[in-house]
Amino acid sequence: MLRSPSKLDEPRAATDPFPRLLPRLLLVGGLIGFVASFVLTVEKIALLKNPAYVPSCSINPVLSCGSIMRTPQAELLGFPNPLLGIAGFAVVTAVGAALLAGARPRRWFWLGLQAGVIAGAVFIHWLIFQSLYVIGALCPYCMVVWAVTMPIFWYVSLHNLSGASSGTRRKLTEYHTVTLTVWYLAILTLIGIRFWSYWSSLL
């Protein structure tokens, strides 16, 4: 991609490490997370209407959102968690669309988004821990949310880190998918070990 000299001089070229990836990721990832949260909310309402309702994602003892949705962990702040997802992912989607349309938000906007994705990342890791080690079941829609939150957090963080120029930052940006891959595999490993007795029955 060739740029005109005047554009090359702009600092943006250096500070935005993923000018094309990030908006698309936010748009698509936000949409996926939104749909998953929305479905979870609908299932939760169905469950409230009829306590005997078996959600579409309760497939077997391990893959079961019914048992998870009934736990207190599913309502951390006193209302069902997916409501947070509906709001949060809608924002992420809108930001992605705005960036695609050429919006260049100010620093404070990025920092706000950063605060949001940090909260999201902390929250899903708490949920992963609860799901694996306290509740002992996996909920497929929740796992979709885990899967999209991780890259959203990662690329927003890399974008915001790009203001500072340090060796570590450059390395992280250069090997961006390596970190993400290791992250995914680590969680996959935890899931594999925790439910090993179940997975091995499928082999």
Partner: protein, 245 residues
């Protein structure tokens, strides 16, 4: 700036941009390569782990089956009732905290009465990890079974299920009361309840279930064939068919 100078500037900038793009491409390739290597190593480790595990399991299964045993019915499996001719055997893998098992319980009781002397009924433990008290309940029943009270304890578990199930608190005192109600030797029951051997006995049943592909409870095997009756009529039809063979 003269026009000549300007052109030189532009050319230099272009060269610089091309170089920059090349550097980026290199970085992209390196990133992709390292990521793929990480995935590759992971897949290899998992494959090796699964393979070793499988070989182990295969060895264990073959070695552990005693004469006259199958993975469906072991020597120590609890028989609720026995048919003298041994022609038809119904094996249930059950979890005392599972609602579906409780829903089947009256049907099974009814069928047991109807086919007394004709069908052997075997109950096997299959406590599911996400049911907080399932393993405790199985231990409580196994501890009672050691005093010859498997059947009444098994019945009590389902009859009282709504009082203790789905609460994420240990139900040990409640199970102890159930044992007391049966007039068991409580010192022996307590000892058996906490004995790791009792837990091992429960886990052995569950391991057989897993080896047989049991994924949820209740899972019924009629003469070693998995059946999924949706009503007591379907249940009876399947048993009648097996008896008629």
């Amino acid at each position: 700036m003269s026009r000549e100078q300007e052109r030189t500037e532009t050319r230099r900038a272009k060269v610089e941009a091309v170089r920059e793009e090349g550097r980026r491409q290199d970085a992209r390739r390196r990133n992709l390569k390292v990521s793929l290597v990480v995935v590759g190593v992971f897949v290899m480790v998992v494959a090796a782990f699964v393979l070793i595990n499988r070989l182990d399991a295969a060895g264990e299964q073959a070695g552990q089956l005693a004469a006259g045993e199958t993975q469906f019915v072991r020597k120590d499996s609890h028989k609720l009732q026995t048919a003298p001719d041994g022609k038809v055997t119904l094996v249930e893998f059950l979890d005392f905290e599972c609602e579906a098992c409780k829903a089947y319980f009256p049907t099974v009781e009814e069928i047991r009465k109807q086919y007394a002397g004709k069908v052997t009924f075997v109950a096997r433990y299959f406590p599911i990890a996400s049911h907080f008290n399932a393993e405790r309940a199985a231990r409580a029943v196994e501890a009672a079974a050691q005093q010859g009270k498997f059947e009444p304890m098994y019945q009590q578990m389902y009859e009282t299920q709504s009082q203790w199930a789905e609460k994420k608190v240990a139900a040990d005192p409640f199970f102890r009361q159930l044992a007391q109600r049966l007039g068991l030797d409580m010192a022996a029951w307590d000892k058996a309840y906490d004995d790791p051997a009792t837990l091992a006995r429960v886990k052995k049943d569950a391991a057989d279930g897993q080896a047989l592909g049991v994924q949820g409870t209740p899972t019924f095997f009629l003469n070693e064939k998995k059946i999924e009756p949706r009503s007591s009529d379907e249940f009876k039809a399947a048993i009648d068919a097996a008896l008629a063979k």
